[in-house]
Symmetry: C2
Subunit: 339 residues, 2 copies
């Protein structure tokens, strides 16, 4: 049976149903202008012949592509993958296909915006945690498709994200509340992102929190590193070598925090007895390593972005900036400072 499904096209269906192709097309697409009886007949014949439209021909002749491009700077890092997972789930539920574009590093990035490989291939593009510069926005613009963003900072496009400064404050306030006053910060930046962007709300939170608590800033307690756990380990080593080491460390991400912890453990320090460490994100391993952190709903951000896109595609209005809440998760890596 299945093998006989050779090459039936709409013309065959139309003929078998005794109508013109125009009518067949309208019936199949549930457009109006077709008598109910006729529609049913066409549908029945189509089913009988197990006919499916050719997406290419359909698109060529004027329909949508039914595809959306997703641009991500990283795939194998949990945060990005989780975002993607959320997005994909709602898009595919809506029968949209997801075209994945991994833009890795500055060169690839340039190439992407230059060649616009997704051009003419999709109905929309969503940029995941991917700050786009001015010029890049212009380039994207000439694809002439809907654009939305997720997981990054606010953008000129409809977008969903968290408030980094709030998240940072939740972490810092927790440390402060426990009584810490010598708090270090390991700030992380993504070397793949152009410098122009990243006004780091997570850093601002640190400064603001100290100021509000009346604690003078000690520049030697903040270290900035490229993203990554190893970097976190190095940063911690640096911090440990300060004349007056901190009693707590605020890391911009859980991975960095984990790196810091490794250094601490190797140095024979106990956590949280000797030193408290807090991260941000609530990476799955945070739970496995008893790391106190600030959770952000990652998959949900992806899903939200997906729904947003769907309504835009349907021509509905949507919010422009949606911000999802973060939440302090207290686990075993933080405690009051030692007497």
């Amino acid at each position: 049976m299945a093998q006989s499904s050779q090459k039936i096209n709409m013309a065959d269906v139309a003929r078998a149903a005794g109508v013109s192709m125009a009518t067949a097309s309208r019936a199949l697409n549930n457009e109006n202008g077709v008598a109910e009886a006729t529609r049913r007949r066409v549908l029945a014949v189509a089913e009988e012949l197990s006919y499916v439209v050719s997406p290419e021909a359909s698109r060529l002749a004027g329909g949508d592509t039914g595809r959306v491009a997703v641009v991500v700077p990283h795939i194998s890092r949990w945060f990005f993958a989780a975002l993607l997972e959320g997005l994909e789930s709602v898009l595919r539920a809506a029968d949209l296909d997801v075209l994945l574009y991994h833009v890795d590093g500055i060169e690839d990035r340039h190439d992407f915006f230059h060649r616009l490989p997704a051009r003419r291939k999709v109905d929309a593009v969503v940029v995941l945690a991917f700050p786009v510069g001015e010029e890049e926005q212009r380039r994207l613009g000439l694809m002439g498709v809907t654009i939305i963003a997720a997981g990054g900072q606010h953008a000129p496009y409809p977008n969903v994200s968290i408030n980094d400064e709030t998240a940072g404050r939740q972490a810092m306030d927790h440390l402060l509340f426990l009584g810490h006053r010598r708090i270090a910060m390991i700030a992380a930046v993504d070397p793949d992102q152009p410098d122009e962007v990243q006004p780091s709300g997570r850093s601002n939170a640190y400064y603001a929190a100290l100021r509000d608590a009346g604690i003078p800033l000690d520049e030697r307690l903040v270290v900035t590193v490229d993203w990554g756990g190893d970097q976190g380990a190095d940063a911690m080593a640096k911090l440990l070598s300060r004349p007056e080491p901190p009693t707590a460390v605020y890391a911009h991400s859980d991975e960095v925090a984990l790196g810091a912890i490794r250094t601490l453990r190797r140095a024979g320090l106990r956590i949280p007895e000797d030193l408290s460490v807090i991260g941000i994100d609530d990476h799955p391993v945070a739970e496995l390593t008893d790391l106190t952190t600030v959770r952000q709903p990652v998959r949900e951000q992806g899903e939200l972005a997906g729904r947003m896109l769907l309504s835009i595609l349907r021509g509905e209005e949507t919010e422009h900036d949606v911000v999802v809440p973060t939440q302090l998760v207290i686990r075993g890596s933080t405690a009051p400072p030692r007497s």
Copy 2:
């Protein structure tokens, strides 16, 4: 300049290059029968106009889609994401677009193979770490496209993977070499995969290693759990409650190992002084947590699969089963048993 790029098609390119569409098409597709000079001119013009072929038209007219579907059971777990990352990188370098299909859970899985959403949309499908059953193979078959696999076990399709049993042996042999004789195993299975598959080489390795070492099997030392770190933690608790607890734990994955370690630490046990733990995979956090493990090159498997696919698509012959080597990575979670 760029904004005038509204609707350029191959006819425009041909005209601008002073050739016919036939020639333009041949040049763009790197077919032969075109003078080198001509080809270069066409390519230059195309670049200049930032032209990209319409996949629909191309496909409709008989060419291929330039797209490949990637089917994954999970996205946000490191292993799968890394595989995907490797694959995507080589595919995109070859100017192939990647259509991502996340098949999540048994229901979704059924739906996927039933509806075959990728049908008529791609030139090939690669299944990532995704054992496919007999019936599913049949369904896939009637898509009539190339199929390859990566990151799973051997398959009826060309595929790349590691030897799970070898990997397991490397882990076990390390423990044995250190002098451990009471070794526990925490076996992990993926609840999303049908039971029929998964003949777990990682488990076989455990039994074989013990046998070869002349150590009698103690059933109470093996616990099987669903995949996931929390499960690992529970399993470890169970192991700890045994009358004669193990001196070392062999976990099927790093995540599971991490879960086990959390339980150990919470119980006040030190690693590796009181107990050794070894995992498999070399998840990035393994390095951050000083976990001894057996590394498998994940991204590389994805890349390999990609190259394999490319040559098949080019009509070349390739190996059917390629197996990549694994390697013991000794870090701080294993040591000789206490006295």
